[in-house]
Symmetry: C2
């Protein structure tokens, strides 16, 4: 791409390659990518920074990363290149040496990152990825001599091993500096700290090329008081063959290359995780049994095998992305929907909120609320269905017998996290939502009869349906003075803590106890969420023959709607809550925090106010008070001081995080609400304010990656207005995907088929979508020749008009052509 | 000092100044010092690295330090100096710029560190210290132009603020990157993150010199992808006057100096901690009330005031060290006993095991066992008496009603730490030991009648004496098959876990539950410790008229002695324990871990085996199997694999930590045992192997500071044999002081006076000690003209011979001259 067409000085989208191409290394924050698809994952930044782990980023951290190191984003997966004649050295990934490269390019693709560089006519390319189904990563390295003379080069690899438990690794030096152990055999460095005791796992780092030296002791390799930018071993060009024993274990190979003019060399490095059965751990006292690893390396230390695996990875993503593909007049929509948003959803589904550039992998729970919402955007990805089904059952299994639930579970034990406990009263309803989304996508009602225990207690198993019913009953039972749901410890907004009354700065708002009886503070958000979710559950109940339940649910829903209208309306918008003293929150009666985003979105998504003008009034208020050029803020005005009765929300400086930043996640609800309300242009407008590709041109302000959503963007009350934080692992990914595909483009799964109801700008002449849905492929062409912004006149399936706007689920493995004619019905 | 007399290339002791002088900055590990005496503490390394905190190093961390950063030992208290004409810049403390200085010298003194440097004829000196009773630190800075021309200089200070909770600070970036707030007023930078919400404290960083610029945003000051060695602001010489808002808060002043040839300038920087009463937090919305700080700065931003405070600090240490002073023929003894060991004990008493170069200040408990032992060496320091008394009562207050105890308490709440819990069965007896040491030193029997609750539960208060009695009864009640004390979760050796049976690598041995019924594994160590402590308690009981108790105690002691002799002797040495299956540990029946150090020391200290040859035999075995040139190892042979029935001890690689390293703490017990056994030369020999000053010449092997003890020195099974780890915060400090002063020099407090019973090498002609004891000063001159190694012939006090070897407690505020004639009694 010619740079004159670029919107950003940092890079550009290469949509054909499904890559984001970064063209200068010094991005405003490390712009990261993930490698790994299943159990072995890694973070890779655009300069090679990052780390890897096996399943659990806290307890099985393989390599070390220093969050917010100085310089930032160190260490990582490094290859130092040294000109043996001049002694000059640099890095294949710019960092850590940071020599001004003659050429630099980082391509973040799906499950891989490729970084190319050129310095004094030595060209390198390194591709990092995890082959499908494997528990190791490959560094596929190519180096080429563009000089007109033979060149003598030395390569030094570098990884820094973590002592497995990432928290202990950075806090327990009195112990950790005594435990390091490694082995070096053939060209392979084995990191085996802890293996001689209880661990049955170790790491290995191998080279396809013979090594002329190695190092495993950080202090020896780097040298006292030196940095990654000038390790003594690289500077002097002499490996020490150090064997660490206590101290910090690293892996560094040295390879000597004599390259003729124009000659290219391919080398494969493999960094992996391995386990042995307890009875087969050793072949001699304290010597690892390496049989399995050696076998694996025989296969994989081979560029051809690696190339094949890379192609397989590409195919995996071809397939994964083929379940939903759109062509709209809008380039930002196309690339984000077709590539990056789905990729982000895939990562978010797997990693929850555990390991990113901001999440250190230490606080390791799978959030109940988070993961249920992550499913909403992931459920069309059929390769994930069995995992999603399992996740839903795992989540149901940490419910309490009363229908409430733990707020998190631990990924390895799958047990509820007792430190945080329960009492987040929106939680149970998200399980209803994810189950319904799963059923609508898959048609698999059988999940409702799958049994799950309560609080993981054997003997308490009941069908999932009963869990959902108990979730409803939990809300029904826990209502306050206005008959609205009690908020509990917090609802979706974790930081609105109406019962905590915290005055101790040393306690976390999340784990602090509630200090009221909890029977007064009510959430209008949960009330609307209840209507939204339980309305659907009523239909599900009916479909499985539970008529009485359906009636009970509908009665509750109707009662809740009335209460929201009566006690939840502030005149121009929906109220947010009643506090522990029964006072309104998010009301014109308040000085600060007069209007909140969440109920405006959720109440309208629940259908409340569409009949009586409240919805439009509320959305107009959102536009008037909350909308900014960078998105919609959480509430207005920001809290300028700490309110003990509101909690963490007022703890942040104005404009940041829950205190009136653009919290991106509920922006999607407003987009959906605008679409529901028929204001398609407004819906798309809001959508585009957050679409990361559409923000690419302001990367210097936005700062985080232009290919994925972030959790927050600083609001206008902040001097950093427009600056994003906490990219990658956010519910925004799921919800923005739902908003654009199901509510703006309007193609959404229903029990019996695909409902199509687009809400698009009048100026669009239409769009296309290919949607694989329940064992059939729908090639949908939406035509908007009348240039309306909503309304389907007719749908023609395989040449035949159908009644209504639900295209049937054919389940026949075939391709079906669907033409949707928009316009005013005659 | 002329370098030719130096034993080390890294530095030398300046005993007159009571300083260790480091003459090259690149020490093998950061060689640190502490500033602060009471509530505000800081760590300062020889290159300015380190951090500060107020009372609690986890919850009131003022500045940030990256443990094991790359480069190591960053950040710290930095002053960058920039030549405004050439643009060249360097650091007053070598780090972080690391320019090769023309002169460098770091002087670690008592409560202060002074670093001097010279670069291109600009000379600087910076002295860091905390004035007595203050909650701030001073950087007393001098700069002098040695050039023959006027020079235009810029100074840039640098501190990096911590978000108060040191653990959160390094793990919770999704939150922390949003909360930073500062104010800059006059020449003062105020760090007020969290102040707008629940915190009532803030930090401030002030300069006595007007500033021409400042920065408070780390990213702005350092620049993206740069390091502390080349901040963009310093490189360009232009402060940005940045106000951080979210991001990382720092404090940097810029000062412009035009120095004439020979001109010197003195500048005071003050970094402090301040609190405001809740109702006086603000003077305007979100604007700190700075009244108190301004008042304080008016007084203190003044080199004269600072100089005076520095003199006061010197006087404080003159006084503190005047309670015990020796002159022996051995320089290493003199300097370590008179200066460094007492200083280390002072620090250890205050900081327990919380914050050092190895302890990150996160795991913040005050250990029951640790702190009681810390008191043994600290109790002669009269300025600490009221704190020691309080500490003993605090420790008693976490005892359980059954006489057992929590293993740790939290310094702010003083409540027992539930995560670790209790069941460390040696713990209660250390309370007996510390109380007795306190009484013997102070004569204050009234502490026994001071009331303390159990488990901090109001209403359960009983006199301390009852707590001690319950401790005895706890041991009596918890005995195993041989009638020996049950070991519980562990005894003194935390890592000998006979009941844990851990197979899960993700659990800590310390917090893992016991998986046996705990009724079989017995500790010979505790048996001997019981004899050692309860023998003394019997005498105390008698002295306060509890004759029945005294009899009961003595009966138990005699019974225990018989059991140790019968079941605790292995033929050549004392056994260590019986495991959960009733098998011997530390026996010739074992393949590994055949002999342990602990019981050999403690049993003989308890007097067991002195009558029947066992003591000498055991000590000979120690010499034969455990003694090395670098000290005595914990056990032999090391464990080469993990034993589930032994636990953490076998988890370490051989030669490190509890697996057969030279664990220094129990070395003191062997030294005492040798002294008791009358083998004075051997006692001193062992003592000198660990005396840090005596190890100064092998600093390149020893690696940690040559002025303080470390917890461990790698044993011969390690390739790092002789390398120390975990310097500063170790029970070694207390015990080695007790060993040398009370058992080798032989001057020890007794209930009625000072007992004098030296065990010194024959070649010594004597030694002197000045000892302030219970409101009198004893100038003791020991004469060994007969060149014996033990035995007091006569003691002459103020010219009059006395009977026996206990010099009375005169309590008259006067100086008494004591002459001790060693030799064989006629």
């Amino acid at each position: 791409m010619d740079s004159q067409y670029r919107r950003s000085s940092y890079g550009y989208f290469d949509d054909n390659a499904r890559e984001y191409v970064i063209t200068r290394p010094d991005t405003p924050t490390p712009w990261i990518n993930y490698i790994g698809q299943e159990e072995y994952f890694g973070i890779v930044s655009n300069t090679g920074g990052g780390y890897s782990f096996y399943r659990d980023p806290r307890y099985r951290r393989i390599t070390r990363y220093r969050y917010h190191s100085i310089p930032i984003d160190q260490p990582g997966r490094y290859i130092y290149i040294r000109d043996a004649e001049t002694g000059e050295y640099w890095s294949a990934t710019w960092q850590p040496v940071k020599k001004p490269l003659d050429f630099y390019e980082c391509r973040h693709g799906l499950g891989y990152t490729k970084i190319r560089s050129r310095y004094r006519d030595i060209e390198t390319e390194v591709t990092y990825f995890v082959p499908l189904k494997q528990t190791f990563e490959v560094w596929w390295f190519k180096i080429r001599n563009l000089r007109d003379r033979e060149t003598d080069l030395q390569l030094f690899t570098y990884v820094e091993f973590c002592f497995w438990d990432a928290l202990d690794d950075m806090t327990n030096f009195q112990r950790n500096l005594n435990i390091a152990e490694v082995e070096v055999e053939d060209n392979v460095i084995y990191h085996k700290t802890g293996y001689r005791e209880r661990r049955n796992h170790f790491a290995f780092f191998a080279s396809s090329e013979p090594i002329v030296g190695f190092d495993t002791d950080k202090e020896v390799f780097i040298g006292l008081y030196r940095g990654y930018e000038n390790p003594i071993v690289v500077e002097e060009g002499v490996s020490r063959n150090s064997i660490v024993y206590g101290g910090h274990p690293i892996g560094s190979h040295q390879i000597r290359l004599r390259l003729k003019p124009g000659e290219e060399k391919e080398i494969v490095f493999i960094l992996g995780y391995a386990e042995n059965p307890p009875e087969e751990k050793f072949i001699a006292p304290n010597i690892i049994n390496k049989t399995r690893v050696k076998q694996l390396l025989r296969e994989w230390l081979n560029p051809d095998r690696v190339k094949q695996a890379f192609e397989e990875l590409k195919k995996f993503w071809d397939d994964t992305l083929s379940y939903l593909h759109v062509e709209t007049p809008d380039e930002d929509i196309n690339r984000i929907v077709n590539i990056w948003n789905q990729y982000q959803i895939f990562i978010t589904f797997h990693l929850a909120r555990s390991a990113s550039g901001y999440e250190t992998g230490i606080a390791r729970g799978i959030g109940f609320r988070d993961s249920n919402q992550d499913i909403l955007g992931a459920v069309h990805l059929q390769p994930l269905w069995s995992k999603i089904r399992e996740r839903i059952i795992d989540l149901a299994s940490i419910q309490f017998p009363d229908g409430g639930t733990y707020h998190q579970f631990q990924p390895i034990t799958k047990r509820g996290n007792r430190e945080i406990g329960g009492g987040f009263n929106d939680d149970p309803l998200w399980l209803v939502a994810s189950t319904i989304a799963y059923i609508k996508e898959t048609g698999d009602f059988s999940i409702l009869f799958e049994k799950a225990p309560y609080d993981n207690t054997p003997g308490t198993e009941e069908p999932l349906y009963e869990h959902l019913k108990k979730a409803v009953m939990y809300i029904d039972r826990n209502r306050g003075p206005h008959g609205l749901p009690l908020i509990g410890h917090a609802d979706w907004n974790d930081c609105l803590n109406l019962n905590v009354m915290s005055t101790n700065p040393d306690e976390s708002f999340q784990t602090a106890p509630d200090r009221t009886d909890g029977r007064t503070a009510e959430s209008i958000f949960i009330a609307c969420q209840f209507v939204w979710a339980v309305k659907e559950l009523a239909e599900v109940a009916e479909r499985i023959g539970r008529k009485e339940d359906a009636e009970y649910f509908r009665k509750l829903v109707n009662d809740m709607i009335e209460r929201v209208k009566k006690y939840g309306w502030d005149g121009e918008w929906f109220l947010r809550a009643y506090d522990a003293f029964g006072r309104k929150i998010g009301s014109k009666e308040n000085e600060e925090g007069r209007i909140y985003i969440e109920p405006q979105g959720m109440c309208i998504m629940a259908g409340i106010g569409l009949d009586d003008g409240k919805a439009i009034k509320a959305l107009d208020s959102v536009k008037k008070y909350l909308a900014t050029e960078h998105g919609i803020i959480l509430h207005w005005p920001p809290y300028t001081k700490y309110y003990v009765h509101l909690g963490e929300i007022s703890s942040y400086p104005p404009g940041h995080k829950e205190n009136a930043s653009i919290f991106c996640h509920p922006n999607a609800w407003i987009i959906i609400a605008e679409a529901i309300a028929g204001r398609s242009e407004q819906a798309l407008d809001y959508y585009k304010r957050l679409n990361p590709s559409a923000r690419e041109a302001i990367s210097h302000i936005h700062r985080t990656e232009p290919y994925v959503y972030a959790q927050t963007i600083a609001g206008p009350a902040s001097p950093r207005f427009g600056m994003a934080r906490n990219s990658w692992l956010t519910g925004t990914a799921s919800w923005m995907f739902v908003a654009i595909t199901q509510w703006i483009l309007g193609v959404r799964p229903a029990y019996d088929g695909l409902m199509i109801d687009p809400r698009i700008p009048k100026e669009w002449s239409g769009f296309k979508m290919v949607r694989r849905f329940r064992n059939a492929t729908y090639v949908i062409e939406v035509k908007n020749e009348e240039h309306v912004n909503m309304g389907v006149k007719q749908i023609i399936v395989d040449g035949q008009p159908i009644e209504g706007n639900i295209v049937p689920a054919f389940n026949d493995g075939k391709v079906h052509h669907v033409v949707v004619i928009m316009g005013k019905k005659e």
